[in-house]
């Protein structure tokens, strides 16, 4: 198994104000799988993503990635884990404002011993004409494409996407989804995507539905369709 989560618990606050966000999550993901995490606000899907990404820590349970237990890792090992295995895409892009498009992508490449070719990636992302612009000169879609470029240039084994189209319009969202699909197919990158858009489940290999911090549904999608055919 490529990624395994066992009995993950997570709560915030203390005593009377304690809120249990994840109540014992168990799930497994295969290498190269496209996983869509669905659920309403407060269901715990972003928290779960952050725990997988090593940004947040579980109170209880185990996360095993390619046989390595995350909880056993030191801070330095955790940094190396993120550096070597993970790519992250956020709803609000989080680009470094004073670096150009190309330089933002280079921040990812810098971390990898075996990065993708930056020029061809910029072509694939459709950013060739914008590569010397600063983020504030770009549209939302262009910024998100840059953030995808930055995440995948280091050739991560897992790409974590937190509502990557949450701030985008329909056409741009579709464009981004096509790009993520391409990444998944071209580089065989495992993708875990948090979304509240139900339509995206149709392009996933695996669909996990969360509610109140628990997995309500976890199934393989037998009728997978292409991103460009998605409608919502």
């Amino acid at each position: 198994m490529f990624l395994e989560l066992k009995n993950i618990h997570k709560s915030y606050g203390e005593k009377d104000y304690k809120v249990e966000v994840l109540k014992g999550i168990d799930l497994s993901v295969e290498k190269g799988e496209f996983v869509v995490l669905l659920g309403p606000s407060g269901s715990g899907k972003s928290t779960l993503l952050n725990i997988i990404g090593g940004i947040d820590e579980a109170d209880e349970g185990q996360i095993i990635v390619e046989g390595k237990v995350l909880e056993d890792m030191s801070k330095a090992q955790m940094t190396r884990y993120r550096r070597e295995h993970l790519g992250y895409i956020f709803q609000m892009y989080n680009l470094i404002p004073n670096l150009t498009v190309r330089e933002n992508i280079e921040t990812g490449a810098f971390l990898s011993k075996n990065p993708l070719d930056i020029d061809s990636l910029i072509n694939v992302l459709g950013l060739k004409d914008h590569q010397n612009k600063l983020p504030n000169q770009l549209s939302g879609g262009q910024q998100q494409r840059t953030s995808i470029g930055r995440a995948i240039v280091k050739n991560p084994s897992i790409l974590l996407c937190d509502e990557p189209t949450g701030a985008l319009d329909y056409a741009t969202s579709k464009e981004i989804m096509k790009l993520i699909e391409t990444v998944n197919q071209t580089y065989y990158t495992t993708i875990i995507m948090v979304t509240h858009n139900d339509a995206f489940k149709d392009m996933a290999d695996r669909v996990i539905r969360l509610r109140d911090g628990q997995v309500r549904k976890n199934y393989l999608n037998q009728t997978k369709i292409k991103a460009e055919d998605l409608e919502w």
Binding site: T79, N98, E103, T107, L111, K133
Partner: protein, 773 residues
């Protein structure tokens, strides 16, 4: 209902405790120091000014060769003055200290008993308080002076000696080796070899300074025609009386300039801070504006915290200023000057300058920036678009530059405003450090130079009566001269005759130069000591003189008789390597001719060994190593403590400024740093990008700005030396001083950077999830 936004203040104070704390420390410290200085200075100046009337300080004094008889006294008093006996005896102890002892003068130049009581019996003495402090003398101590034991019964301030100038022409006063004191009349009568000094007061006070000068000039001529005058010193030229007041006034001016420079730096810091806050809070501001808050309300809101900090700093600073710092500064003054007792007076001027003006400055700076920055459409705030961000393009950088270096360059471009503030801070702090470190170094160098390169190991100046130099006394003093010259011959084989004459340089109000005494030495043509070519009547200036006024060969110098309207012009043929004083060298023959003296006239000797075969009464002064280092000793005493404080102050400025600026730069990039952590950058790598960039910039600015700081220091030093002091110190900024400055600056930076490393490590990864940059 109270504005709910106000609840943010306490939270903001907690969150930004470090920032506000360092701003508070710098402001409170600066205000305390300046308020302390202004209050101490103001109180002391008042005590000093009041002392003229309170202790009836003389309008001038003169020394007669002999005690005046009644008819001479009546005649002189007929010139519109009243004269008072101001006789003194000059005593020495075994430690090369000179005591000028008076009777208790009840009419003029009265004394202020600061501690203890006046002497009541013959073996009792009171001495100047500063001298007692500097020599650890306590009331009740027995002091042996000129083979007599005296019990010290009090520490006093003689109103005509607030500064211990033994001789009015001394380059510097000496509160360690020279003092004044008072004994009982009975004791005083037992002294021999008295100096017949007379103090005088005008019957009609001069209307103004010009009138005072004219009156004094006229009086000196009239008295000089009647008696043999050894000296004539009107009050306005008496440095023992005036130096303190002049020095305190100029110190205050310097302190105020220093303070306003700090306030300007703080103004910049506040400007950068407030800009940073607005940047950080753009969406909040947008939302608040959209909800109906007015811009005015928001301006007041964002101005409140900086103003509260300024006001608290001002209050605490003033309290510290009026207590601790005032006492410290008074102690510094008391160490150098013999001031009467003082009462602390409230200074409205000080309050306005140290409190009202900084607060107003903060209001103006913050208000202007906030008004400008908040004057944007609401949508721009919500979209986080600053007025310039739409137009902002990336500065093109070649891809050949390694990625990390490009990243650092981008950080540099982003933080240019902060780095500019840093540059101003570096310039200012380094100037202070250089000044604080270099001043003692210059004094040391001067001392070494004095010891290693004197005109001669001993310069013995003969005690020549004033009348012998005056044309109108030539006949009268002929016999006296013959007798004098017979008595001042020496068998000392290495002695070489010199003649000398003292003139005064002309004042130059443009550079606040008051003029000073210039000694002209007449040297033997084949001198073993001053090896110069005088074959064509050449005139040379000392290198100190040349340095002070940038004189070059061919320049002309005009000097005048101190008390007469007689001018002399000299053309410079070169300079002679002597830093000890402003002087001119020519052949003895030429000097005697120039000043209309007999060609064989001489007034002293240069020698390798001490001349001991001339009667003491004919020896005026002996300039030896000890006399030459008097200036440096006093300067070290007067300024030592002050210079340490200047360096400490500069370090405080460094730490505070670097801390605030680095913190702001890191805070402004917190989102990017957080994202970098998520991507897998280690804390070390992030520090190497963000902190290293600032470090590189800091080191470059530090090293790059040094030449400018050194030049500024030279400029300030030249102004200080021409306006405040006689003589000249060569300004040398030693390599060791530059190295020390760099070490102090980098150490201050390194300490501050530690906080930044911790700050970078503490930025959480979920920061990137919360906000939008």
């Amino acid at each position: 209902m109270k504005n709910p936004l106000n609840k943010r203040f306490i939270r903001e104070l907690k969150e930004e405790a470090g920032k506000y704390l360092v701003i508070f420390i710098l402001m409170a410290f600066s205000i305390a120091l300046t308020a302390g200085y202004i209050v101490a200075d103001g109180s002391m100046i008042k005590a000093y000014n009041d002392s003229f009337e309170k202790f009836n300080i003389e309008d001038g004094n003169f020394t007669a060769k002999k005690k005046l008889n009644l008819s001479q006294k009546n005649l002189i008093e007929g010139y519109g003055i009243k004269i008072y006996e101001n006789f003194y005896a000059t005593l020495k102890d075994g430690q090369k200290k000179t005591y000028r002892i008076f009777k208790n003068r009840s009419e003029v130049n009265r004394i202020d008993v600061l501690e203890g009581r006046l002497p009541e019996s013959v073996n009792e003495i009171v001495l100047d308080r500063a001298f007692c402090d500097n020599n650890n003398l306590k009331i009740g101590d027995t002091i042996r002076i000129s083979d007599n034991d005296y019990v010290l019964t009090g520490a006093v301030a003689l109103s005509d000696y607030s500064t211990m100038f033994e001789d009015n022409s001394d380059m510097m006063f000496d509160a360690v080796h020279f003092t004044v004191g008072v004994v009982t009349d009975e004791c005083f009568e037992s002294f021999k070899n008295l100096s017949y000094n007379y103090a005088f007061k005008y019957n009609e006070a001069p209307a103004n300074e010009i009138d005072e000068k004219n009156k004094a000039d006229e009086l000196s001529k009239k008295i000089g025609n009647e008696i043999v005058l050894e000296s004539f010193t009107p009050r306005y030229l008496n440095r023992a009386i005036n130096f303190t007041g002049e020095d305190m006034s100029s110190d205050k001016g310097m302190m105020e300039i220093l303070f306003y420079m700090i306030i300007v730096i703080m103004g910049f810091v506040f400007a950068v801070t407030i800009t940073n806050t607005i940047q950080k809070e753009m969406t909040v501001i947008g939302t608040l504006l959209a909800s109906g808050y007015s811009r005015k309300e928001l301006i007041i809101h964002y101005m409140t915290m900086p103003l509260i900090v300024t006001i608290i700093s001002a209050i605490i600073g003033n309290i510290l200023g009026y207590t601790l710092l005032k006492n410290y500064i008074v102690a510094l003054y008391y160490r150098s000057y013999s001031l009467p007792s003082y009462t602390t007076i409230w200074s409205t001027e000080g309050f306005i300058k140290t409190t009202i003006i900084p607060i107003l400055m903060m209001i103006v700076i913050n208000f202007s920036i906030l008004s400008y920055k908040l004057n944007m459409p609401i949508m721009n705030f919500l979209r986080r678009q600053t007025s310039s961000s739409n137009k902002k393009r990336a500065f093109p950088l070649s891809r050949r530059i390694p990625f990390i270096d490009r990243y650092r360059l981008r950080i540099f471009f982003k933080n240019i405003p902060s780095y500019l503030v840093m540059l101003i801070g570096i310039l200012f702090a380094n100037l202070l450090i250089l000044f604080g470190l270099d001043f003692p170094y210059i004094i040391d160098q001067f001392e070494k130079e004095m010891i290693s390169n004197p005109i001669a190991p001993y310069i013995t100046m003969l005690n020549m009566p004033e009348s012998m130099k005056r044309d109108n006394h030539k006949l009268e003093t002929g016999i006296e001269m013959l007798e004098f010259y017979n008595s001042v011959q020496t068998e000392n084989e290495d002695a070489e005759k010199i003649s000398a004459y003292t003139l005064k340089s002309l004042p130059d109000p443009d550079i606040d130069y008051k003029g000073e005494q210039v000694t002209i030495y007449g040297i033997e043509k084949d001198s073993d000591y001053v090896k110069l070519d005088f074959s064509n009547h050449q005139v040379y200036v000392s290198s100190a003189y040349a340095d002070k006024f940038n004189y070059e060969k061919g320049d002309h110098i005009v000097l005048k008789e101190e008390y007469e309207d007689k001018y002399y012009e000299f053309e410079i043929d070169g300079s002679y390597d002597y830093m000890g004083s402003l002087c001119i060298f020519m052949s003895r023959e030429d000097l005697n001719k120039t000043f209309d003296m007999d060609k064989d006239t001489f007034v002293g000797y240069l020698s390798k060994t001490r001349i001991d075969d001339i009667d003491d009464k004919y020896i005026g002064t002996v300039v030896d190593q000890d006399a030459l280092t008097k200036v440096s000793r006093q300067l070290k005493l007067s300024f030592g403590g002050m210079m340490d404080m200047v360096v400490v102050f500069a370090v405080v400025i460094y730490v505070v400024l670097i801390y605030i600026l680095s913190k702001m730069m890191i805070d402004a990039s917190a989102q990017s740093i957080s994202m970098s952590k998520i991507m897998g950058y280690s804390n070390g790598e992030i520090a190497s990008l963000y902190i290293m960039t600032t470090t590189i910039v800091f080191v470059l600015l530090l090293v790059g700005s040094l030449p400018l700081e050194i030049e500024s220091l030279k400029y300030i030093f030249r102004i200080m030396m021409t306006s405040k002091m006689s003589g000249w110190f060569p300004l040398t900024v030693g390599t060791n001083i530059i190295t020390k400055t760099i070490i102090i600056a980098i150490s201050s930076y390194a300490v501050t950077s530690m906080f930044e490393l911790i700050r970078v490590a503490k930025i959480p990864m979920d920061q990137a999830l919360k906000n939008v940059e």
